[in-house]
Symmetry: C2
Subunit: 238 residues, 2 copies
């Protein structure tokens, strides 16, 4: 960048972008918590609030994209500076998708008519959500602090979430086999479990963005995968 | 842009970006066709080829993002020129997501063990895929040709896809209620139907990007929605 003035202007642009991403991250974390709370407590009103909150997330993503693009055009940053801006855009894209997934869970609350709600399933869903939420929090902290080891911990930790998701899917299949009246409910919960798993995938995407931002290259290692839900057709009693 | 030289360099950058997006679009269209063909014909090898093709899509998205960012930094485009570059990035993001959804369907082929395959379901899935594929093709043509009316047709046409998806979900639920041995198979098909519906959503996202590119503002109208699958719990026999 040409002058001290430009460098200062860039720093201020970058600070504002980082602030916006942090704001978006906070809102998205709340959406995850509230959507699963709404599901578990059958709180239709809370589900609707999550759906409504997604508009704010979409707007924030647009604002971040616009500001990032303007910063690139005005300040012509290079190397790490350019990667910082691109990373803010990428993280915002992942957060926007997480918002969509939470919104989809919020929508499903109204559809859960049955009283059927085995405690084991609920605990499984809560456990999975806690793990994923802590991943999202950790990776956003790692992004803000430029902490590569912390980001890599999140990147490696996705395996456990995938394993819980697979076991939850097996459980849900069993309930569906046992009584057709459980089917609708269990399908909604399957889609929700899959959504939470996907939120975990976005946390690992953000970890990859932190790697790119700091190291200046895309991560090439293959991530450990515990996900078997695409193949989990071997069901007890089948 | 400052000089004639810069203007020419920009045009050449933009042409290359547009070419890359078109290439990505062609690959993604093939992935959609092949993933559903693989599902219907239980062609596990074809399913695996779709999964493998996704790497190329991910790489293309990164290339488009990198070139777009470099073009913005080097040429400092304004107004419509800047929107062209941002739009290429946005379309690439949606295409990458479509690739993921097709890949997910490709993965599921190996899991469809049962011989159960009612013709009505297959026809429904094919019909939905044809509609969505024609939307993806039309919107990519509209993007390449800067044809706003054509893009708006795609934007409005999503309703039919959502309605077919809802009816397919009802059908699948009926089969699951009838015989527990159908459950695993039907769940895979539900996730596939939902994936195809989401591909349709990405086509409408691209239509919104065309609107933004040409009009210089985000679309604000609410899109017609025929999707009831989040709420489709009223099942025959329930």
């Amino acid at each position: 960048m040409a002058s001290e003035h430009t460098a200062k202007a860039f720093d201020s642009d970058l600070q504002e972008l980082t602030r916006l991403v942090a704001e978006m991250g906070g809102l998205v974390e709340r959406m995850i918590t509230e959507s699963v709370d709404a599901l578990i407590r059958r709180d239709v009103a809370l589900g609707k609030r999550v759906v409504a909150a997604d508009i704010e997330i979409d707007n924030l993503q647009r604002v971040i994209e616009e500001r990032a693009v303007l910063t690139i055009a005005r300040r012509q940053p290079m190397a790490i500076d350019l990667r910082e801006i691109v990373s803010a855009m990428r993280v915002a894209t992942d957060l926007e998708r997480i918002g969509d997934l939470a919104k989809n869970m919020g929508k499903r609350v109204a559809a859960l008519e049955s009283d059927f709600q085995p405690l084991k399933l609920i605990r499984g869903l809560e456990h999975m959500t806690d793990l994923v939420l802590s991943q999202v929090k950790s990776v956003l902290d790692a992004y803000a602090a430029h902490d590569l080891p912390a980001a890599m911990n999140v990147w490696k930790g996705d395996e456990e979430v995938d394993a819980i998701c697979t076991s939850l899917f097996r459980e849900l299949l069993t309930y569906m086999m046992e009584d057709p009246r459980n089917i609708s409910f269990c399908i909604h919960l399957m889609f929700c479990a899959k959504n939470i798993e996907r939120i975990g995938d976005h946390a690992t995407n953000i970890a990859e963005t932190v790697f790119y931002m700091i190291e200046g290259q895309q991560i090439t290692d293959k991530r450990p995968k515990g996900d078997m839900t695409n193949f989990a057709t071997t069901v007890p009693g089948n």
